[in-house]
């Protein structure tokens, strides 16, 4: 079946949809720009890998703990954001990414530069999923995360987020605790990135420190912004586009990366709010 190629791409695309939606909680909702999101992704993936390989825990447990520990580190590493703002926060999160990857590399418990290999395939009712099954399984989580996002858009949480994004002083003046809501945003974002990390670890069957390095953070941010910050459909489109683009561009072989970069520049210049952003052409086209 040649469909496996497609299924694999869909799986990766699903994982990155979850990542970009989780980053969107931070950037789009709460206005906290992070360029270190791959760190949370990595923490989730390593949690699953360590628990599954070194402690032999089953899939359900590793999934749950990846989300919890991802959320916990989101909380922990979100604490600096209480003191550090704007561009300083962007740079602090870049730093965080480097430090986390360095720790994976330098601590033998995490396998050092070898990473951790040998995650068993995720099993459901004793059955192993094929590539198609896993694509479907990750799609299930995408749906859950989208529903969660739709839910968040309806509850007070989002109003608190929007308030601190648009004006921290005004937010405080209506009773929104800015530190508390920043921590909420980092925790939720970290937990969802942890989920993505779990899905990645079982997809690859292994984790390497470099899979979570700074360029990955850049990719996730680009997905969110290219698609449309603050919307739900935007980050999804961004993730799908940037996952499939390198494959779709294969026909130009040698100019692939060049064109990839140029496309990002052009889209952002002419669609600065993102393709599906509030003023994006695609959004307008759909409204017709």
């Amino acid at each position: 079946m040649t469909l496996d190629y497609l299924y694999t791409l869909i799986t990766f695309s699903n994982i990155f949809i979850i990542l970009s939606l989780s980053l969107n909680v931070l950037i789009g909702y709460a206005g906290q720009v992070s360029l270190g999101h791959a760190a949370f992704f990595g923490i989730g993936a390593y949690t699953s890998a360590v628990l599954a390989v070194k402690f032999g825990l089953g899939y359900g447990t590793t999934l749950l703990l990846s989300v919890l520990i991802g959320g916990f580190f989101g909380f922990l590493l979100g604490l600096p954001s209480l003191r550090v703002r704007h561009d300083f926060l962007v740079l602090a999160t870049i730093g965080l990414n480097f430090v986390v990857v360095a720790l994976f590399k330098y601590i033998d418990f995490f396998g050092g530069p070898y990473g951790i290999i040998g995650l068993p395939a995720a099993k459901f009712f004793g059955k192993e999923l094929g590539t198609g099954g896993y694509a479907l399984y990750t799609a299930f989580w995408v749906v859950i995360v989208i529903l969660l996002m739709i839910y968040i858009e309806k509850i007070y949480l989002r109003y608190g987020f929007e308030a601190i994004r648009e004006n921290e002083d005004a937010a405080e003046s209506i009773g929104v605790s800015v530190p508390l809501f920043k921590i909420y945003a980092f925790t939720i974002s970290g937990a969802l990135a942890g989920l993505a990390g779990n899905l990645w670890a079982y997809q690859m069957g292994m984790v390497f420190p470099d899979d979570f390095s700074f360029p990955v953070s850049i990719t996730i941010l680009t997905m969110v912004v290219l698609g449309g910050v603050g919307t739900i459909s935007g980050p999804i489109l961004g993730a799908v586009l940037l996952t499939f683009l390198p494959e779709l561009l294969r026909f130009i072989q040698d100019y692939r990366l060049l064109l990839y970069g140029i496309i990002i520049v052009i889209v952002m210049m002419y669609q600065p709010s993102g393709l599906l952003g509030r003023q994006g052409i695609l959004r307008k086209a759909f409204k017709r």
Partner: protein, 377 residues
């Protein structure tokens, strides 16, 4: 009517394809690993040319299908399906680094398609299963050989160790350390450095104070050229021992003030070998691609040569037959002195020690003691 056309099309295509056997290759051609990727691609292309010039395999021509993986495991994994299922290759060569190679190895094993890794060093790659082989010398073997070179040939008693902080550097250093201690030498200094490190003076200062007999420095040619340059600057004249990571003409070019001279390395590529295939490869590579061949190119060349031989032994393009045949391949026209695979699918070959004199690699010593060069011992 439409169905008939479709059938005709399929027949036509299969007739046209009948004359070729496809081998896949994934390499980084853009992004961070693009230089090694290009070498690996060129090496593989040259091997295909060599095989086809010598009559092809099973009366058919070899064809190379290659894709850029950008050193990204996402891409190497999806490419695995593409190469096997869409392009219908019968076997695959990895010309990529450890991460993408290890990630893809699991997929090739699942798809029951033989994969030969050219130069990726991660020890677990071949553990993915019975279909996954490696041409390059294991870091553990090289580390061990390096220890013999240091202690037996260079009579070192006190050794300083510089360890690159990735899988390659750490494997080499661990194997070297264990063997050197066994041989009675003492490790007087050990420190890690990052792959991208450019300034070794601080470490080298410390090494200089300890005055060891030799320095075993893991690394790639771009680290190594800085290590030797800065060592010379600081007046360190002890022999520096390197490994295949150094094995690139760029190592010599990038070192300043001819500082590379005197360095001894363990590697797979014996440039002084009289074997015709080596001479042909070195000459043809430079003619075709305008630069001297390096170890990466040689390994990719051999990976294709080994696959060609395996297909011939198998007598068919059945993937499982090719896999079985790979265990039997030996005595091929190899640039890197490949002998055969062990049952763990690691390559056995002589380890060649080369010394740099007059800004050129020369043969220095050959280690062929099976105790040392057989992986897994």
């Amino acid at each position: 009517m439409r169905r008939l056309l479709a059938v005709l099309l399929v027949v036509a295509v299969s007739l046209a394809m009948a004359g070729v056997i496809k081998i896949g290759l994934f390499v980084p051609l853009s992004g961070i690993g693009a230089d090694d990727g290009e070498s690996a691609l060129h090496g593989a292309m040259l091997a295909v040319k060599y095989v086809n010039d010598h009559g092809g395999v099973l009366g058919k021509k070899l064809e190379l299908v290659y894709y850029d993986d950008q050193t990204d495991p996402k891409q190497s994994v999806s490419l695995a399906y593409k190469l096997v299922q869409k392009d219908g290759v019968v076997a695959v060569v990895s010309g990529s680094y450890s991460g993408p190679t290890r990630a893809a190895a699991g997929i090739y094993q699942r798809l029951k398609t033989p994969m030969v890794s050219a130069y990726a060093v991660h020890p677990d790659i071949t553990k993915a299963g019975e279909y996954i082989f490696r041409v390059g010398t294991l870091a553990t073997v090289q580390g061990r050989a390096g220890a013999h070179l240091a202690v037996e040939k260079l009579k070192a008693k006190r050794i300083a160790l510089l360890v690159m902080d990735n899988d390659f550097g750490v494997s080499l250093a661990n194997a070297f350390k264990a063997e050197a201690k066994k041989l009675g030498a003492e490790i007087v200094f050990e420190e890690k450095f990052a792959v991208g490190e450019k300034d070794f003076r601080t470490i080298l200062e410390k090494v200089k104070k300890l005055d060891p007999d030799v320095i075993y420095a893991t690394g790639y040619y771009f680290n190594a050229s800085k290590i030797v340059t800065q060592a010379k600057e600081l007046g360190i004249y002890q022999t520096i021992i390197g490994q295949e990571g150094y094995d690139s003409p760029l190592f010599i070019e990038l070192s300043k003030n001819h500082a590379a001279n005197g360095t001894v390395i363990t590697t797979d590529l014996d440039r002084d070998s009289e074997r015709p295939v080596v001479q042909w490869f070195m000459k043809e590579y430079e003619k075709e691609f305008g630069r001297p061949a390096d170890m990466v190119a040689a390994s990719a060349f051999d990976a294709v040569m080994i696959l060609a031989k395996a297909i011939e032994i198998a007598g068919s393009t059945s993937k499982s037959a090719i896999k079985d045949a790979l265990y039997k391949v030996s005595g091929i026209d190899s640039v890197t002195g490949f002998k055969h695979f062990t049952k763990d699918r690691e390559a056995v070959r002589e380890v060649v020690c080369q010394v740099i004199v007059g800004d050129r690699f020369h043969r220095f010593w050959v280690i062929d003691d099976p105790e040392i060069v057989t992986p897994g011992k």
